[in-house]
Subunit: 341 residues, 2 copies
């Protein structure tokens, strides 16, 4: 083992649970010792951290689908890094891995918790934190297994310029949808949807009510709504859904920083007469789809049929800033924090 | 053909579309000519009419899952009657049939639209308008195909003293549920649930908030909610649902007479973290299950494993009164109108 191993590194701690929108006062960047890997462990120098909307939920205390972040402990999240020391079979210094010990410069972890990055797919490494990582798998599972998109479906995706929504809309088309409509905030993002991602129409939720725009974009109604947003997007989608329509509830970013629960859509009763199915899912329950997803998605990428964007913030000290910017829609595609600088 | 065939009969017409709760002013009982059956038709003397919550939706104009009642035309609905004239093969005078030309004393209809009542099941005829008819099939399909009740599930059924809810809760148990909880209004009905229908616990929604009572009745949460009501019942059920819980949306009686759409439940976001599935359905889409349902349900009835109740109003002139009483919860079990008197 080389003698240049790091003995300390910086890591983000949650120091106070936020109410409503988090602020700088909720977080602290601290330096902590780096432990040497024990038997079966690896030490990873993180190159990129992933910041994602679901992390807001982990900042709250109490019952949720995922354990809350502990106070005064490193926050967790997906990261891509390089093995700098290994006491695990099959992992060598220099290997690239993804893992879930993010929000820090160095992580010592059981090799069993790391996923080697395939080197034969001819895609940029950062794709494994995005379109070939958790967010891409989320899009794939949501369209294929939850919404069960079919030949000829008209599909509406909210948050379509984001890390999940962009791939979700394109995958819908690749899986047979006849028309794909996306929503995003502002003309730059909506242009991206129609001009680069191949959406048939885009709804700018900042420009006019979603319902009005969606009715124009889908005069025959929609068959699938892939929800990243909730709120008025969900209400508009319910109005537009055709009989036997399906809603894959992937995210509800409009509510994550609310201090009071908002009432649900006034038109939820349409679920009955139109025989709608509204289903929530978490990608963590669908890891068995990962292999198929990787193979299929890499193929789409190589064929130029699937495009994605990244927004990269430089420096671990900007990680919470990147997280908050992403929550406010300041990203295009996957929001990443680079530790390469 | 006997010479005593009726030449006129009474029938209920919708004469004005109701706003909110219907009143006598919305309906008229009129006498109309009875036409002789043509080739392939039968003439039926109705013995029992079925009044059901979904009929309220048909009184409205405009887009719905089912065509609205026409003004100044006979309203439609399930009925049980005796063939008094037949020009159709396989139908003889005296045969009992069910059909959908209700709200009238006599109906001339294509034999293809009539369903012969099986005589070998050893159950009262009226069962074919209830537990062995549309409402029973609704319960069966909802539990088996939509909620997909499994061994060990804890199941909550609203409107459980009604024509659908009573069978639904008992079928859940017969299909493997470990604990069944029902809601109803008032002590007479809740006692019926626990003492006669075999529910493990009952919630009296008139006595205290549903959520409080449900939390006590299902301290470990519920896995299935069979919804006949909507509103605060749905909100309470969402709070109680365990991960991978399912909601079969069968009816939303709390909203049928509302003049303004009510906001949806404040806790709809639980759909995501708990990976819930909320699915609406209509029995009309599931007629292919009828044969299996009849065989299975008749078996349960014969074995004394499934119980049901009926509330019978006497006289066609009381049909709208029976409908409104049913909408207000004035029935126990299936609400029927007898024309036998």
């Amino acid at each position: 083992m080389p003698t240049t191993l790091p003995t300390a590194g910086r890591e983000w701690h949650l120091v106070a649970r936020p109410t409503g929108w988090p602020t700088d006062a909720n977080f602290a960047l601290r330096t902590a010792p780096v432990s040497e890997p024990g038997a079966g462990e690896i030490l990873v120098r993180n190159r990129y951290l992933s910041v994602d909307p679901y992390m807001r939920g982990r900042m709250n205390a109490g019952r949720s689908y995922i354990a809350p972040f502990e106070l005064d402990e490193p926050m967790l999240g997906d990261a891509l890094g390089e093995v700098v020391a290994s006491r695990a079979e099959g992992f060598a210094v220099g290997d690239l891995v993804t893992h879930h010990q993010g929000w820090r410069e160095f992580a010592t972890l059981p090799a069993a918790d790391a996923v080697p990055v395939p080197r034969d797919l001819d895609v940029p490494d950062t794709a494994f934190l995005g379109v070939l990582g958790m967010t891409g798998l989320t899009a794939y599972v949501g369209m294929k297994d939850i919404a069960r998109v079919r030949e000829g479906d008209v599909v509406f995706v909210s948050g379509a310029a984001g890390a999940v929504g962009g791939p979700a809309g394109q995958m819908a088309r690749l899986l047979g949808a006849s028309r794909v409509i996306g929503s995003a905030g502002g003309p730059e993002k909506t242009r991206l949807l129609t001009e680069e991602f191949g959406f048939d129409a885009a709804v700018d939720y900042k420009a006019a009510p979603v319902g009005e725009q969606l009715a124009k974009a889908a005069p025959e109604g929609i068959d699938v709504y892939f929800d990243n947003v909730g709120g008025d997007h969900l209400e508009a989608a319910l109005d537009a859904l055709n009989v036997f329509g399906r809603v894959a509830v992937c995210g509800l970013i409009s509510s994550y920083n609310a201090t009071e629960p908002a009432p649900g859509p006034r038109n939820l009763g349409l679920v009955l007469g139109r025989r709608l199915r509204v289903e929530g899912y978490l990608v963590t329950d669908h890891q068995e789809r990962r292999e198929e997803f990787l193979r299929q998605t890499a193929e789409w990428l190589r064929a130029g049929q699937l495009r994605y964007r990244e927004t990269v913030c430089e420096g671990i000290e900007r990680a919470t800033e990147a997280f908050l910017a992403m929550m406010r829609g300041g990203n295009v595609g996957k929001m990443l924090v680079s530790l390469e600088g």
